[in-house]
Amino acid sequence: MDPVALGIQLLNGVQYGLLLFLVAAGLTLIFGILRVINLAHGAFYMLGAYMAYWISATTGSYGLAVLYGTAAAFIAGLLVEDLFIRRLYGQGHLAQVLLSFGLILVADEVRQAFFGKDVHSVAVPELLKGSIQLGSIQSYPIYRLWVCLFCAVAAAIIFLVIQKTRIGMIIRAGAENQEMARALGVRINRINKLVFAAGIALAALAGILVAPLSTVFPGMGDQMLILSFVVVVLGGIGSVSGALIGALLIGLADTFGKVLIPGLASMIIYLVMAAVLIWRPNGIMGSREV
């Protein structure tokens, strides 16, 4: 593989990994703070992509799709938390699995009612069309670079918020010891709502970003759910930096797997997961027993 092709695959892998991180970060935070396993996370990613299709088709602006889509997902997250997820706090995992499975069925049918079974595509916004010449023959689409940049900035903001702000401190405290945080006067219920809605908004945002890159199709949520579960298992549940490491690992493994050993491509991420399970059953950054 020549250096330019290698560089392109590297970029692809990192871009895919960063996108995965947006979804997995929400998932891991929701588990870390709310102690709820949210199978419906992928469904919100899927709904985000469909919203990108719908809003950009009706308004003609992809920028508006990013803005409105993320905001709508945040509000939907607040509602879903208040109506359903709230009742799962302190319940067993089984109830959480079942309830979020129910949510997936509902989300799928809602999608079915509005958009049908068709595969849609979303146009790359005018500003980000075209590609950059790399070397003599290869080129790299600008939109992919932009997604890379956007996700990297989003990841940086997530880390800054969690590490440097007051709200981030409260979130970390809540993840560490919910009872203690409550006893010290933190309104943990509000934090729960906020974290859930933010996680959902991140998943939808990832769906919106991915829409112009690939097609928008019904099964995309399930696919992403499995991948982000693998990422969370790799990184360690509740650990945002673990999610970043896991996401980049899976993004690169998947991308290079497809190039180097095409026959095994769909297996490679599971093999990575199996290896990490043997090596560190609680994930790379995970220490806590859950």
């Binding site: 079942l98 499995i226 859950v290």
Partner: protein, 338 residues
């Protein structure tokens, strides 16, 4: 009260047996096959419950073992000649158990929510294997052109006949239920439940918790393979969706709906859920929407399942001496303290 209960239960089982034996002679053929389907899903739900209810292992990959059983029949049958029922059934059970051994050996290194995620991911691995593989028809699935030849004591039975298939399903159901019942009552089953209720204590008492759980998981996977084998034999068709995690989650719904405390109640849940789906499908195109809302409602309003509802209506029967009566909630929560 206890005596009354003991007296009552064999009566209930006998009545159910007579009902199962007599039913196909009074209902249309379509419903005979439908009843067979319910029994097969009942086997699947009972097998899952051995792991999830009695073992506290909330597995989201059981459909993978089920689908694997079906695919083994499809791959073992040739286009023109019937495969031997007993050989291929053993292969299917072995295949399900083998897959469960590998998935379980890795997944059981984790607890609680990790276990759920890891089993889900490994199940999807098998799904994507059959979805992408050309040897088994890929995403289109594969047909089983000739049903397997079932020979019992020298008699050749024809599984194409709905009645024969129905009674095969009944016998399989009874055998699987009896097997799980024996397992649960055995010292091994007690140890499995002890590990579910308090892993630390079970371990300090000297039980090899990992090995006990793995054995239960493998048995449960093998039985799921049997259910998948029979389902493939019934429909003459297998598709990758048989391995998908939506089915895994649906089986969990069945088990919870029926109640996870007894051997047979998941099968009741399976019957209730499949019956409900059948009715909903005839009503509306958006039946999954209603099913999803009912599942959400089940969790929020009625976490104890149908069995609890039944006992609310008939409180006298609910005094059954509780052998295995840990709530599924607690069973799942156990992972937290593990």
């Amino acid at each position: 009260m206890r005596r009354a209960v003991r007296f009552f239960r064999p009566g209930m089982i006998a009545a159910a047996a007579i009902g199962l034996a007599a039913m196909p002679f009074f209902i249309p053929q379509y419903y005979v096959l439908f009843a067979a389907k319910v029994l097969l899903m009942g086997i699947l739900a009972m097998s899952l419950n051995l792991a999830a209810g009695f073992g506290g292992m909330v597995s989201l990959c059981h459909a993978a073992f089920f689908g694997l059983g079906g695919y083994i029949l499809a791959l073992a049958s040739s286009e023109y000649e019937a495969a031997s029922f007993w050989t291929t059934l053993l292969l299917a059970a072995g295949g399900g158990g083998f897959a469960a051994f590998f998935i379980g050996a890795l997944s059981l290194r984790t607890r609680g929510v990790y276990f759920i995620m890891v089993t889900l991911a490994f199940g999807e691995m098998l799904y994507s294997l059959f979805h992408d593989a050309s040897f088994a028809g890929g995403s289109d699935g594969a047909f089983i052109y000739v049903k397997p030849a079932l020979e019992v004591f020298g008699f050749n039975l024809n599984l194409d006949s709905p009645l024969t298939f129905y009674f095969t399903a009944v016998i399989a159901f009874v055998l699987v239920a009896a097997l799980i019942f024996q397992i649960v009552r055995s010292p091994f089953g007690r140890a499995l439940m002890a590990a579910r209720d308090n892993e630390r204590r079970a371990r300090s008492l000297g039980f090899p918790v990992y090995r006990i759980r793995l054995v239960a998981f493998v048995i449960s996977g093998a039985l799921a393979g049997v259910a998948g084998y029979l389902a493939a034999a019934q429909y003459g068709f297998v598709a990758p969706e048989m391995l998908g995690w939506h089915l895994s989650a649906t089986i969990l719904v069945m088990a919870v709906l029926g109640g996870m405390q007894t051997v047979l109640s998941p099968a009741l849940g399976a019957a209730a859920l499949i019956g409900m789906e059948e009715i909903l499908k005839s009503w509306t195109e958006y039946w999954k929407l209603i099913e999803g809302m009912l599942i959400i409602g089940l969790v929020i309003v009625f976490p104890g399942g149908l069995r609890r509802l039944f006992f609310l209506v008939f409180p006298a029967i609910s005094q059954k001496p509780s052998r295995a009566a840990a709530e599924p909630r607690d069973a799942a929560r156990e992972g937290h303290h593990a």
